[in-house]
C-alpha cells in the first residue's frame, strides 16, 4: 500500500508543477486572433507556436539581443574562469604571500548584493563611455563571476598533489606553462561546471542589463523580454508567452543536458 503512495504523491505534485508550463505552451500555440482568456485551458499545439515565436522575435528585435546575450554568456564566464583560476593557482601552487588575505578579498566580492554596485557603475559607465556598450556589459558580467571562480578553483587546485608542480619545475617548465598546460587541463571538469553555472546566470540576468544598457543591439534578452511584456502584454498575450518560451529554451536545454555537471558545480561551490 505505502509502496504506491509515495510515487503517486510525487507524480501528482510533479504534474501540478508542470501545469504552468502546459498553460504557456498551449497558449503560446494559438494565434493572437484566436486567443481568448476564457479558453486558456484548452489544448493546442502546432505551427502557430512557431508563428508566434517569429512574431515575438521580430517585434522585440530579439535577434540583436540574442546575439549580444550569447556573447556575454560565453565571454563573461570564460574570462572569469581564467582569471579566477589564475588567482587560485597563484595562491595554491605559487604560494602567494598572504594568499589567504587576497583570496578573501576576491571572494568577498560575491557577498555583497548587486544593489551596491548598480548606481556607481551606472554613473561611472556614463562618464567613461562604457554605458550601453557590449564591452561594458562583458566587463561587468566577467567581474561578477570572478569571485565564485576563484573560490572553486582555489579549492580544486588544493586537491592537486604538490609533486605535480615540483616535477614540472624540475623539467624546466615556466609557471605560465605549468598553469596553462598542466593545471588547467587537469581541472577541466571544474572549469566546465563553473562556466555552465555562470553562463546560465548571465543569460538569465535582468538587473545589470536593465541598468547598464539601452539600445536593442546592446541590451540583453531579459530586459528586452520585459519590454515586450509591458508593450504587448495586453493585446498579444500569445506573442509574449512565445517570446518567454523561446528565450528560456537554451538554458533549459543546457540544464537538462548537463544536469550532472550542474549539480557538481553547485557542490564544488558548496552551493
Amino acid at each position: 500500500m505505502t509502496r504506491f503512495v509515495r510515487p503517486a504523491f510525487l507524480g501528482l505534485l510533479g504534474l501540478v508543477w508542470l501545469t504552468p508550463i502546459y498553460l504557456i505552451v498551449v497558449n503560446a500555440s494559438r494565434l493572437p486572433s484566436e486567443y481568448s482568456s476564457r479558453s486558456v485551458w484548452k489544448p493546442a499545439f502546432g505551427p502557430d507556436l512557431w508563428q508566434n515565436m517569429t512574431d515575438a522575435w521580430e517585434r522585440a528585435d530579439l535577434s540583436a539581443s540574442a546575439l549580444s546575450t550569447a556573447i556575454y554568456s560565453v565571454l563573461g564566464p570564460l574570462i572569469a574562469v581564467l582569471i579566477g583560476a589564475a588567482v587560485g593557482f597563484a595562491i595554491v601552487a605559487l604560494r602567494l604571500p598572504h594568499g589567504f588575505f587576497w583570496f578573501v578579498l576576491v571572494f568577498g566580492g560575491t557577498i555583497f548584493p548587486l544593489q551596491m554596485i548598480l548606481m556607481p557603475l551606472f554613473v561611472g559607465y556614463a562618464e567613461t563611455g562604457l554605458y550601453n556598450t557590449r564591452l561594458g556589459l562583458i566587463l561587468v558580467y566577467t567581474v561578477i563571476a570572478v569571485p565564485f571562480s576563484a573560490f572553486v578553483m582555489r579549492n580544486f587546485f588544493s586537491g592537486i598533489a604538490r609533486h605535480v608542480f615540483e616535477a614540472a619545475v624540475v623539467d624546466g617548465a615556466t609557471t605560465w606553462r605549468i598553469f596553462w598546460r598542466i593545471y588547467l587541463p587537469m581541472s577541466a571538469s571544474a572549469l566546465v561546471a563553473i562556466f555552465i553555472l555562470q553562463a546560465t546566470f548571465i543569460w538569465n540576468d535582468l538587473l545589470l542589463g536593465l541598468t547598464l544598457s539601452q539600445s536593442s543591439d546592446v541590451r540583453p534578452l531579459m530586459p528586452a523580454l520585459t519590454a515586450l511584456q509591458s508593450t504587448y502584454g495586453g493585446s498579444a498575450m500569445p506573442t509574449v508567452l512565445a517570446g518567454g518560451l523561446l528565450v528560456s529554451l537554451p538554458t533549459v536545454v543546457l540544464f537538462l543536458a548537463t544536469q550532472r555537471i550542474f549539480s557538481r558545480g553547485l557542490a564544488l561551490g558548496q552551493f
Binding site: 504534474l15 508543477w17 589564475a86 588567482v87 561587468v140 604538490r162 531579459m222 528560456s248 543546457l254 549539480s263
Partner: protein
C-alpha cells in the same frame, strides 16, 4: 578565517628554497593581479562610493550634499519604504518555509527511490528558467479571472474571484509562490546531495531497530542534515533579500507601491526618482542584513574544504 586548514607540505619540497621563493613571488603577483584589480575597481570601489552616498543627497548632478543619517531615518519612517521592508520580511519568511520545506520533502521522498531523479525532474525544470520568464508565466496564470481562477471555480474551490496581483498583501504571497515554484527543485537537489552522503550504517541500524518514515527522518536524517540545512536556509535568505526580477515583471512593485521589495524600492528610488542617496541607503541596509544572514554559511565555506 583562522580556521582555515593549512596543510604542511613545504617539508617535502625538493626545491632550493630561497631562490625559488623570490622567482615565484613575482609570478604569483602576475597571476593574482588581474583578479584583484578587476574586483577592486568594479566591485570594491563602487561599494565604497555607495556607502558614502548613503549619507548624502545626490541626484547625479553637482556635488553630493552631506545629510548624515537622514536617508536611514527616512527608510524607517516613509510609509512606502516601511511597506517595502514588511514585504521583504514576508519574502524571507515565505522563502524559508515554502521552497526550503518543499525541497526537503521532495528530497527525502526521492533520494533512495528507484527512478528518483525522474520524479525530481518536473521540479528542476523551472530552475533553469529565468526570473523574467517565471514572472511572465505566472502573471499569465494569475490574471484576474485567468487560468488559476477558472481552475478554482471548476473544482468548486473558494478564491476564484481573487484579484491575485491587484490586492496587497495577496500579491506578495502569490509572488512568493511563483518564486517557490522556481526554487524548490534546486533546494531538493542540494538536499539529495546531502542525503546521499549520509553514511549508510546508522540509517540501516535504525531501520533494523524498526524506525521508519517520520521517526527515521526525525531521529537520524534530520540531525545529520543540519549543517546542510543551515547552508540552504542561509542561501535562501540571501536570495530572497535580493528579490527583484519576479516582482519587477509581475507587478513592478504595484499597485501603488504595495508589493515593492527593498531591491525594487532601491531600483525605483535610484533610477526612476533619481534619489541616489536614499537608494544607496537601502543598498547598504540590504548589505548589512545579507552579511548577518550569510555569516553562518560563510564560516562554513571558508573554514573547511570538503571533498567533492
Amino acid at each position: 578565517m583562522t580556521l582555515l586548514r593549512q596543510p604542511e607540505r613545504a617539508a617535502t619540497s625538493a626545491l632550493p628554497a630561497p631562490r625559488a621563493r623570490s622567482t615565484y613571488r613575482w609570478s604569483a603577483w602576475g597571476f593574482t593581479a588581474p583578479g584583484v584589480l578587476i574586483v577592486a575597481v568594479l566591485l570594491y570601489l563602487p561599494f565604497l562610493w555607495t556607502t558614502y552616498l548613503s549619507f548624502t543627497r545626490y541626484n547625479g548632478l553637482g556635488a553630493p550634499e552631506w545629510l548624515g543619517l537622514a536617508n536611514y531615518e527616512q527608510m524607517f519612517s516613509d510609509p512606502a519604504l516601511l511597506t517595502s521592508l514588511r514585504n521583504t520580511a514576508l519574502w524571507v519568511v515565505g522563502t524559508i518555509v515554502v521552497p526550503v520545506g518543499l525541497g526537503l520533502l521532495i528530497a527525502v521522498l526521492t533520494y533512495d527511490m528507484r527512478f528518483g531523479s525522474w520524479f525530481r525532474l518536473p521540479f528542476l525544470i523551472p530552475y533553469a528558467i529565468s526570473g523574467v520568464a517565471v514572472g511572465i508565466i505566472w502573471s499569465f496564470v494569475l490574471q484576474t479571472d485567468g487560468a488559476l481562477s477558472q481552475a478554482l471555480s471548476f473544482l468548486g474551490l473558494p478564491g476564484s474571484d481573487s484579484r491575485w496581483l491587484l490586492d496587497a498583501p495577496l500579491n506578495t504571497f502569490v509572488m512568493i509562490g511563483a518564486a517557490a515554484w522556481q526554487a524548490s527543485g534546486v533546494n531538493a537537489l542540494l538536499f539529495v546531495i546531502g542525503l546521499q552522503s549520509i553514511p549508510k550504517e546508522p540509517v540501516e541500524a535504525a531501520r533494523v531497530d524498526g524506525a521508519s518514515g517520520v521517526r527515521l527522518f526525525r531521529s537520524i536524517l534530520w540531525p545529520m542534515l543540519r549543517p546542510l540545512t543551515t547552508v540552504v536556509i542561509g542561501l535562501s535568505i540571501v536570495a530572497s533579500l535580493k528579490t527583484f526580477d519576479i516582482v519587477w515583471v509581475m507587478t513592478e512593485g504595484g499597485p501603488g507601491r504595495s508589493s515593492e521589495t527593498l531591491a525594487v524600492t532601491m531600483y525605483r528610488e535610484t533610477f526612476v526618482r533619481t534619489e541616489y542617496g536614499l537608494g544607496a541607503a537601502i543598498s547598504v541596509f540590504l548589505t548589512v542584513v545579507t552579511l548577518i544572514a550569510s555569516i553562518t554559511y560563510l564560516r562554513r565555506q571558508l573554514s573547511e574544504r570538503r571533498a567533492v
